[in-house]
């Protein structure tokens, strides 16, 4: 399903996407196209992208081609999803230790839509961190790694 969404293959393109997306939630999915969980997430993203077209711009980023961002965003598991609004990073409290990105795939399309809506509304109210509306059951649990410890 990844071919339905625009892809960013270099740091410059990612920069451009972050800078130029205005008044919309920018969704950056870091991962690999052939990864099974990535395929699962891409399916959800591509199917909801048209519904969310006024609220969100969704891009797929290849982890291997943008090492700087992979490093900067501290992506150790794929797929990881990072949200931006007007060039500002949006944090979400998922109930997991990492607020900066959503690791893994959403369980349903509705989960993703809800999350985007909450982020959009929070950003419009000037919030840099929002509370995730997703049921904690549906959020995949991963261990947080800290500098190879």
């Amino acid at each position: 399903m990844s071919f339905l969404l625009p892809k960013l293959t270099s740091k410059k393109e990612v920069d451009q996407a972050i800078k130029s997306t205005a008044e919309k939630v920018l969704v950056l999915r870091f991962g690999r196209d052939e990864d099974p969980v990535c395929l699962q997430l891409d399916d959800i993203l591509s199917k909801t992208s048209s519904d969310l077209s006024k609220m969100a711009a969704i891009y797929l980023v290849d982890v291997d081609r943008t090492p700087v961002y992979t490093h900067y965003f501290d992506i150790s598991y794929i797929p990881s999803t990072v949200f931006f609004f007007n060039g500002q990073h949006m944090k979400v409290d998922y109930g997991s230790p990492d607020h900066t990105k959503f690791v893994g795939s959403f369980k349903t399309k509705q989960d993703f839509i809800d999350l985007i809506e909450v982020i959009y509304r929070g950003a419009m109210r000037g919030k840099l961190i929002v509370q995730s509306p997703i049921d904690p059951k549906n959020i995949p649990k991963y261990d947080l790694l800290y500098q190879d410890i």
Partner: protein, 469 residues
């Protein structure tokens, strides 16, 4: 006993009073006086009642009695009311029938006096008041000089060239209307014509009945049937405001006077035309003179060029000076007298050798003498090639619409001031709050950069180490 005595009581009583009167004449006098007083009081009251409600079924009181009654709210009544407390008049008013008079009714209807610019409730009385008379006098004195000036113009009507100042208007008190002071037609103005015309104007109605009136005139020429509109209004004004009768004549102009004015106006027009002709002739003479002197000047300037002088400039200057002493003498004399005459005209021949760069005469493009477009008005070729549209374009409109849309969004949203179009270097990183970093978000970027620098150093160190070992 009582029943028998009852019917007989009345004659008894009457007889008794007769007896009493015979016995005590003084007592009888007081009784009669009391009776008479009672009757008169009663009649007074009756009269007042009748005054208050006339035609209510009550009989009119006798005439002889009514004249004594002071009218309620009338002059005497007011006088009595205004009497100071404790005075005789006040006592009289309290005790006598006057106290039973009804209080004065509603005030006299409101009347606005246009002269005093005030509303009065005392009816016609106001006209006689000192204030009104003073106002009237002032108003008439304001109008009088203008009328007097107009009256003077009857004998000798002045005609002048029209200037906007002749649009002045004056207010006719009697007719209550604005009147043009002067009569102007085209570029001519008859001074005071408008006011005179108004003062002697016949009524509109009169003009309509012109034929009838002419017939009437023929029948009795002496009859004073001409009642001009203004005269009527003046009469009414004088009557209403009780102005001085002698003054009235000053504000009226008889038809005969007006006819005289018309005649003098014709005369004035003639004299004006004559004067204008004279002025035109004078101007023509002046123009001719100027033209003549100009032609002379031109001729004198052209002559030395037409005849090339073999000798040096002095003789040329002399001839020039001779022919044109009239105009050029003042400007040329000091130089010709003080300086040696030679260097004036031959500087072209004997001057320094200058480089000639050729005649700047491109056919098609004119120069400053032929009225070409000046260079600063000519568009540059680079700019002219770009077809710049003047005025708003559709793209700009869309941009503006976007801006308007953005204005509706909350101003404190995330990244409201973020510059989306800024150009950034390759090393740019977005603001990102990292998991392990505390502090502000931009600090994580700096930390990342320092980390990256340290890592690079380490890597280079590691790469170097094996080569060393």
């Amino acid at each position: 006993m009582r029943a028998a005595c009852g019917p007989a009581g009345a004659p008894n009583c009457c007889a008794r009073s007769q007896l009493l009167r015979a016995l005590f004449p003084a007592h009888a006098h007081t009784a009669a006086a009391a009776l008479a007083g009672y009757i008169s009081e009663y009649r007074c009251w009756l009269g007042a009642l009748v005054r208050r409600e006339p035609g209510q079924g009550l009989a009119q009181p006798q005439m002889g009695l009514q004249w004594r009654l002071p009218a309620a709210g009338g002059r005497w009544d007011r006088w009595a009311r205004s009497a100071p407390e404790g005075s005789e008049v006040a006592e009289w008013r309290k005790t006598s029938c006057a106290s039973r008079l009804p209080t004065p009714g509603p005030m006299a209807p409101a009347q606005r006096c246009p002269l005093c610019r005030q509303t009065f409730f005392c009816g016609r009385g106001h006209v006689y008041s000192r204030k009104h008379q003073r106002q009237l006098k002032a108003a008439l004195e304001r109008l009088l000089p203008q009328v007097e000036a107009a009256r003077k113009a009857i004998r000798a009507a002045q005609v002048e060239r029209y200037v906007p100042e002749h649009e002045r208007r004056c207010w006719c008190l009697c007719c209550g209307c604005d009147v043009r002071k002067h009569l102007s037609h085209g570029n001519l103005t008859v001074l005071h014509g408008g006011l005179l015309e108004h003062l002697a104007r016949f009524s509109h109605f009169y003009w309509k009945l012109e034929t009838v009136v002419t017939v009437f005139y023929q029948l009795c020429p002496e009859a004073e049937t001409q009642t001009p509109e203004h005269k009527k209004a003046t009469n009414r004004f004088w009557w209403e405001n009780k102005a001085e009768f002698q003054m009235k004549e000053k504000f009226l102009i008889s038809p005969q006077d007006y006819a005289r004015f018309k005649k003098s106006m014709v005369k004035g027009l003639d004299t004006y035309e004559e004067k204008e002709d004279e002025v035109i002739k004078e101007m023509a003479a002046q123009i001719r003179e100027v033209e003549h002197s100009r032609q002379e000047l031109v001729r004198s300037v052209l002559e030395p060029q037409a005849v090339p002088d073999p000798e040096d400039g002095s003789s040329a200057l002399g001839s020039w000076k001779g022919t044109n002493s009239l105009v050029a003498s003042t400007s040329q004399q000091p130089s010709s007298v003080d300086l040696p005459p030679t260097p004036e005209l031959d500087w072209m021949e004997t001057g320094q050798p200058l480089t000639f760069i050729g005649h700047q005469d491109t056919p098609g493009i004119g120069n400053i003498h032929s009225g070409a477009t000046p260079p600063w008005m000519v568009q540059d070729e680079e700019h002219s090639s770009v077809n710049q549209q003047i005025g708003p374009s559709y793209e700009e409109f869309l941009k503006e619409k976007e801006k308007q849309k953005l204005k509706k969004l909350p101003p404190d949203r995330v990244g409201a001031n973020f510059d989306h179009s800024s150009s950034t270097s390759v090393g740019w990183l977005p603001s990102f709050g990292r998991v392990w970093n505390n502090g502000r978000r931009w600090q994580s970027r700096h930390q990342f950069k320092t980390e990256a620098a340290a890592r690079n150093k380490q890597q280079s160190h590691k790469e170097k180490k094996p080569s060393v070992s």
